[in-house]
């Protein structure tokens, strides 16, 4: 398993840690309630991290 696999901890910690750090409605971020904005941000970062993991994983090299 490549070392970059550990990056997966980032989305997991953001998604689960969010309930402690971000469980409130205000301030609104781009109009979204803070908790919802946190989830949206987590999802975007998740895709980014998965892309990094994908490109660093030798299994995906042709």
């Amino acid at each position: 398993m490549p070392r970059s696999t550990w990056l997966v901890l980032i989305p997991v910690l953001l998604a689960l840690g969010g309930v402690l750090a971000a469980n409130r409605v205000t301030p609104f971020i781009f109009g979204l309630p803070f908790f919802m904005a946190w989830v949206v941000g987590t999802v975007l970062i998740t895709s980014l991290v998965m892309w990094l993991i994908y490109s660093l994983d030798p299994a995906n090299k042709p």
């Binding site: 998604a15 469980n23 409605v25 109009g31 908790f35 994908y54």
Partner: protein, 492 residues
Amino acid sequence: MNTPLIIIAVSLAFIVFLGMRAKRGVTMNMEQWSVGGRGFSSVLVFVLMAGELYTTFTFLGASGFAYGFGGPALYIVVYTVLAFVMSYWLLPPVWRYAKQHKLLTQSDYYAKIYGSTALGTLVAVVSLVALIPYLILQFKGIGIIVELTSYGGIKPTAAIWIGAGAMTVYVVNSGMRGSANTALLKDAVVLVVCVFLGLYLPYHYYGGLGSMFATIEQAKPGFLALPETGKNAVWYLSTIAISSLGMYLWPHAFASVYTSKTEISFRKNAVVMPIYALVMLFSMFVGMAAILQVPGLSGGQIDLALLKLSIQTFDPWLVGVIGVAGVLTAIVPGSIMLIASSTLFARNIYLVGAPDTSDSRLSLVSRIAALAISLIAVYFAIGGGQSIVALLIMGFSFVTQLTPGLLASLCKTRIANKYGVATGICVGVGTVAYTVLTHQTMQTLFPGAPAWVHDVNIGVIALGLNTAVMLAVTALTRGLVQEPTVALQSEP
């Protein structure tokens, strides 16, 4: 005939046409029918997997949940995304093993990797008990959606017969290829409709998303975050943990993994799918827009929030298009469920009783099973009955009980054998049935425990017992089982 009805009828005819056409140029054997001959591209695998995750539950249920509970609804997005993350490592080895051993069902996997046909049959029975009520739910969805969007022009009974008939015709004819063809169209329509509704309705009633949320916060302070009690942080975390583990354990989701041509598809999709999960956010926007516009829905009625608000807002033709999207979210996943359950019956129950059955005969058996299962589901969707409601609640928890056996099979060292997995599943399923049927909650089970324990999702108990029993029984029966040599982790 009214306008929405014409739009829905024409679309349904087009779906059947697409589904039937999918068979062209394919010799239909069992492998073609059940898993599309393992020849699907990344895109098709993507829409199939996304297709079965975005069911009527997500279309009506996610908006309804957001309407009824607010902030906690976000758990749906989070657990889906975490399941997609997990899929990067989970699905490639499963796919590799399935291809190597020509597996067609989820039960085949358990039977082969643990070297026990009986375990396969046990898993098939659990799967069918979970899956058929889920299919019934899709049919019920068709009934409700068509009745509402046709302004009562078509009664649910007629809508269920027509919807189920259309789906069954192309399933029997084209199998998985029919589902894949229609899944492409469905995802396009649902995507456009969800995003449009999620942006337009808040704009129409509040002047924009931002002012909508500000208005809701004023009317119901704190509603858009997690509450202190009930569906609070503990509930949220435990529910996410259980649901993301269970997501790929649905037999139809598992079997659609087999349709892929390459294993790299799963890793590619794990990058894109999280973004795609955000589509559900738009249907939650609709539910939240409905909070102050169609107040007073409670209980099971919250699932009607999206449709009620749409009917109140739009011209009939647009209501028709929304109806089409709704019907598609029921028919396409429903067709995959129908294929999965009839293949399960043919491969893991019928074939066990009659091992000499030829491939072409088994293919016939599974198509007849599809017809029979569809009729059973129609019967219960129209008849209803409380027993079905209980099964629906239990379905997700039942398939979740298959998780320990799957995860154990992926470990490098053998930590579970067939006896352990089988008793674990029985104990897990028994625990779920007991807690649901006797209406137990964490509070009635552990009255003396600290308050936070009472908010834990009750599913963790069954899953915990299941895992403990699996490991214990495996340790006790270690001498009885010849370890099958499995090279699951090795790259091809």
